[in-house]
């Protein structure tokens, strides 16, 4: 299962080679997540309606290696947007993917851009 984790590496906006169109904004529920399939990757996309911001990360929770993060609850910790895994409520920053619970788990995060009501996720492959 550890192999799965290796598929996911954080992408910074300036590194993006391919903006993948994941869908239109009305397909994404407000203040929660949805899962997008990109080749053999599962990407969780979060629509923070309150702040009108979007984030994306791997759907795989690194704690128990299940494809569940898109089904978690969004929120913030001192203004850092975060996602809580639905399995054991491990929380991760959606800015840098680091765990907010004091352990050394982390997730990969991807840039999201909105253009003409379309949602794009940035990849390097």
């Amino acid at each position: 299962m550890q192999e799965l984790l290796k598929k996911y590496n954080s992408v910074k906006t300036f590194e993006v080679k391919n903006w993948f169109r994941a869908g239109t904004i009305d397909q994404f529920p407000s203040d929660s997540g949805a899962c997008v399939k990109y080749n053999d990757k599962q990407i969780a996309v979060f629509n923070f309606t309150r702040t009108n911001t979007w984030y994306a990360c791997q759907n795989l929770c690194p704690h128990r290696l299940e494809m569940v993060l898109s089904r978690g609850m969004t929120g913030d910790l001192n203004d850092i947007p975060k996602i809580a895994c639905p399995l054991h409520k491990k929380t991760f920053s959606l800015i840098d993917g680091k765990s907010l619970g004091g352990d050394d788990l982390s997730i990969s995060v991807y840039p999201v851009k909105i253009e003409d009501e379309n949602v794009y996720i940035g990849f390097t492959d």
Binding site: M1, L4, L5, A22, G23, Q27, F28, P29, S30, D31, S32, A34, C35, V36, K37, Q42, V45, F48, R50, T51, R64, L65, E66, M67, V68, R71, G72, M73, T74, G75, D76, L77, N78, D79, P81, K82, A84, P86, L87, K89, T91, G101, G102, D104, L105
Partner: protein, 835 residues
């Protein structure tokens, strides 16, 4: 780049890495770590937990990715066979050679096996590594398959008792054999040891003291132990735990100075006789002693890391050997000098044989200083006593209050925890002082226990200091004039009851409005479900109205399981079900290949449904007349019943009918925690109603109503609220009771702890519910009536609304299910593939 090599990846070796990477000098260091075991360092202190639920991963101190992310080259399953201290190289068992500038030996210790004839027989084990535990476990399983089940542990010290606990966890009849006349001879005196022995014997273990083992009997495998006093103990396996010996062979070959009885001699910089080589942990001989405890090992790691970075940290001149732990369900602690007895010392002891408690403190004759002590059976005073001892603090005038508690109940003998000196070490495992804990708060970096733990790492070792850390945080916040109030989370500085009242009075309808009016920030996984529950209780709204604020399970109206699939539980009121409906459940389970199990609440749980299958399954269930069982919610679950007077020859009333009525009345009602009820047809209590949040038992002349019998991890019996009620009165009291609980309990607080926290307890509750002392009985009944009237099955709602149905797709841009889900067979069914 300076090359640093660490030999040994145990707890102390890992701590060294952790300390080194936290230094700014680390960027100039290339760190290579060698570990003989196949896995990265794990927590040996909690090794016996490996046998309960904990897996090897839970014991791991840091994952491989942690080492990778810090550019540490971790080589596991690699043994270093030689050190060339002249050319500063080490060579592994495969012949690869590595250069170092500084070398750290953290090779630890090995279990000492006394030279007893027969120790090489099958079934004789040592207790040190996860591999040892796996070997013990598989041998025990083999024994049990052959109908044998006795184990003996040689050694009644700390580790021996841990091993005995492991034997007990494996379901073996376990005996402890000790050479000395008492258990834990290094930590306990005779009285404490005999109290501990009594407790352990009471748990079903055998204790054999004063036993010198002459030889281990058996042809091929062990069959027993023959003792010098000509007695014999039959046993099917033996775990030897007779102490540890430092693993210093490498150091011997490198020509380092070694102590007479082993151990690499180090100074207070952790330097060996070769200034480029350091030794830390159980292999190091400091002050002519080898220390088998984690705390001194961690301190050594910190000193060595500092020295290598060019600092001048030194090891404390004297090492504190205090310990506090839980052994086989018994708390044991010893600190300072536990045995000291002479003319300048007064000893105070307290003994309660019935409760199995023994406490001893040793005090200087003038009553000014605490010198040491022992606690068995109740170590709740340990933190206080340890601080008084460690900081040589002034003692109260009657020092006996330290272990007896003061008669006027005037709190801790320490007075205020803030009176501790700044240097007082609160967390010995991570060496965190009171100063750094309070400082973290005073400087404004932290404002909760959680923050302090993240920032200082206090409590992350053995966890024994947690109560004191928590006291320090509370008192420091108080001293800054901050009210320490149980608020919901950082977004709402209110408790649940306050928020409940505000939502009700201001008629708030949605989460965002509540957050804008009463909170700040953007919410989190704590406050969202709390408000979802409050909206459900006040407006009778289902989980479908505001899906974004529902907890993991409520959001998808099903219980998420280990592998991300869900389980489905339809309501079966009172546990009564027709054969036709049973067949529907069977057919659906078969069609969707679901693992099927009867729940504790007299219903049927179907496991392994993928997200997209949930609406399909529920469509079929609803067509067959089922409705949501709310097993996914903090809501009424079931009302369990016995068959009652309709069939049972002892039954007094119709318990099934009453249970069905009650379950149907309260179905769908959300509460601070899940709710369960029970109805028994007579006092034989086959429905176990007194183990529920509310229990109803048929008696001559009506029903007896019991409440608050759900303590979660700490079982509680429900307490009698009212006697000999007719159906209507019983339901009226239940309405009032449930609504009062829903209004006032804290989030996730079950009924038993709620009653414990209620000022005035059950008598007060009787006043409110029966005598209406608050004048709210009518209001409570109306609120409940309105919830009952507005009940809707949320699954029916979900399958009828195409907008809601969209929620149940795994991908937003593809129809595919999650391809990563896989199963393995389990008896005649299946289970998720283990991680």
């Amino acid at each position: 780049m300076k090359k640093v090599i660490v030999i040994g990846n145990g707890m102390v070796g890992y701590k060294f890495c952790e300390k080194l990477v936290s230094r700014s000098e680390f960027k100039e260091i290339r760190l290579t770590v060698f570990g003989e075991e196949p896995r990265p360092a794990y927590d040996r202190v909690h090794l016996s937990e490996y046998f309960n639920e904990t897996g090897a991963d839970d014991l791991q101190l840091a994952s491989r990715s942690w080492y990778e992310s810090h550019n540490i080259d971790l080589k596991t399953t690699t043994m270093i066979s030689t050190i060339d201290s002249i050319h500063r190289t080490v060579t592994d068992h495969k012949g690869n050679t590595y250069c170092y500038d500084k070398l750290v030996l953290a090779t630890g210790s090995y279990p000492f096996v006394p030279p007893i004839p027969g120790a090489d027989k099958k079934g004789v084990f040592v207790y040190r590594t996860i591999e040892d535990l796996d070997a013990i476990k598989s041998y025990a399983l083999k024994l049990k398959e052959n109908g044998r089940s006795t184990a003996a542990v040689l050694g009644g010290g700390l580790l021996g008792l841990e091993a005995a606990n492991a034997g007990k966890e494996l379901g073996l009849e376990t005996h402890v054999v000790e050479f000395a006349p008492r258990l834990m001879p290094r930590q306990l005196d005779d009285n404490a040891s005999s109290m501990l022995a009594d407790k352990i014997t009471g748990m079903g273990l055998g204790i054999h003291l004063n036993k010198a083992t002459k030889h281990i009997a058996g042809d091929d495998a062990i069959t027993g132990l023959a003792f010098a006093d000509d007695t014999f103990l039959s046993t099917d396996m033996l775990i030897i735990s007779a102490g540890i010996r430092p693993r210093d062979q490498l150091a011997v070959s490198a020509g380092l100075l070694i102590g007479e009885r082993g151990g690499i001699t180090v100074d207070n910089k952790m330097q060996t006789s070769n200034p480029d080589i350091y030794a830390i942990g159980e292999v190091a001989l400091y002050n002519n002693m080898v220390y088998g405890l984690v705390a001194p090992g961690y301190e050594m790691a910190e000193v060595a890391a500092d020295q290598i970075c060019g600092g001048d940290k030194r090891m404390s001149p004297s090492i504190d050997m205090s310990t506090q732990l839980k052994l086989i369900g018994t708390e044991v602690a010893s600190f300072g000098d536990p045995f000291i007895e002479n003319e300048s010392v007064s000893v105070i002891t307290y003994e309660n044989k019935q409760k199995g408690i023994y406490k001893r403190i040793n005090i200087s004759k003038d009553g000014s200083k605490l010198l040491g002590g022992i606690l068995v059976g109740d170590s709740s005073d340990y933190n206080t006593l340890f601080q008084l001892y460690l900081n040589e603090m002034k003692l109260p005038e009657d020092p006996e209050v330290l272990i007896l508690g003061s008669r006027d109940g005037a709190g801790s003998a320490l007075g205020n925890v803030l009176d501790l000196p700044e240097t007082a070490q609160i967390c010995s495992c991570e060496s965190v002082s009171k100063g750094s804990i309070c400082g973290a708060i005073l400087e404004g970096n932290c404002c909760s226990v959680k923050d302090v733990i993240t920032s200082t790492k206090a409590t992350t070792g053995c966890g024994g200091c947690k109560p004191m850390v928590s006291d320090l945080v509370t008192e420091t916040l108080k001293s800054m004039g901050k009210t320490v109030k149980e608020t919901i989370c950082e977004h709402f500085e209110l408790n649940r009851q306050e928020l409940y009242d505000l939502v009700k009075v201001k008629n708030i309808q949605d989460y965002d409005t509540a957050l804008n009016e009463f909170g700040k920030g953007h919410g989190c996984e704590i406050c969202k479900p709390v408000l979802a529950s409050i909206f459900a209780s006040i407006h009778a709204e289902t989980a479908n109205r505001q899906p974004a604020i529902q907890d993991s399970n409520d959001k998808f109206l099903a219980n998420i399981q280990r592998n991300g699939t869900y389980s489905v539980v339809p309501r079966v009121p009172g546990g009564e079900i027709t054969p036709d409906k049973l067949m529907v459940l069977g057919a659906i389970a078969k069609k969707y290949d679901l693992y099927t199990k009867i729940t504790g609440g007299q219903r049927i749980d179907l496991f392994g449904a993928q997200l997209y299958e949930l609406p399909l399954i529920w469509k079929e269930l609803i067509d067959a007349g089922f409705e949501s069982g709310h097993a996914y919610g903090k809501a009424l679950r079931t009302v369990k019943s016995c068959v009652g007077s309709t069939w049972c020859r002892y039954g007094m009333h119709e318990s099934v009918t009453f249970a069905i009525n009650i379950e149907n009345r309260y179905r769908g009602i959300r509460s601070p925690h899940k709710l369960k009820g029970g109805v028994s047809g007579c006092i034989r209590e086959c429905a176990e109603a007194r183990g529920k949040d509310f229990g109803i038992i048929a008696v001559d002349g009506g029903w007896n109503l019991y409440v608050c019998g759900n303590g979660g991890a700490n079982p509680k019996h429900a307490i009698l609220l009212a006697e000999q009620l007719d159906d209507e009165t019983c339901i009226r009291y239940l309405d009032r009771f449930l609504m009062f609980y829903i209004r006032t309990a804290a989030p996730l607080m079950r009924t038993a702890p709620w009653l414990e926290k209620l000022d005035g307890g059950i008598e007060y509750l009787k006043d409110v519910i029966i005598r209406d002392s608050l004048g709210i009985a009518g209001e409570l009944e109306e609120e409940m009536e309105s919830l009952v009237d507005r009940y809707t099955c949320e699954w029916k709602q979900a399958i009828e609304d195409p907008e809601i149905a969209k929620r149940f797709r795994h991908f937003i841009n593809a129809e595919d299910p999650d391809e990563n889900i896989s199963y393995v067979p389990l008896r005649d069914q299946k289970m998720p593939k283990p991680w």
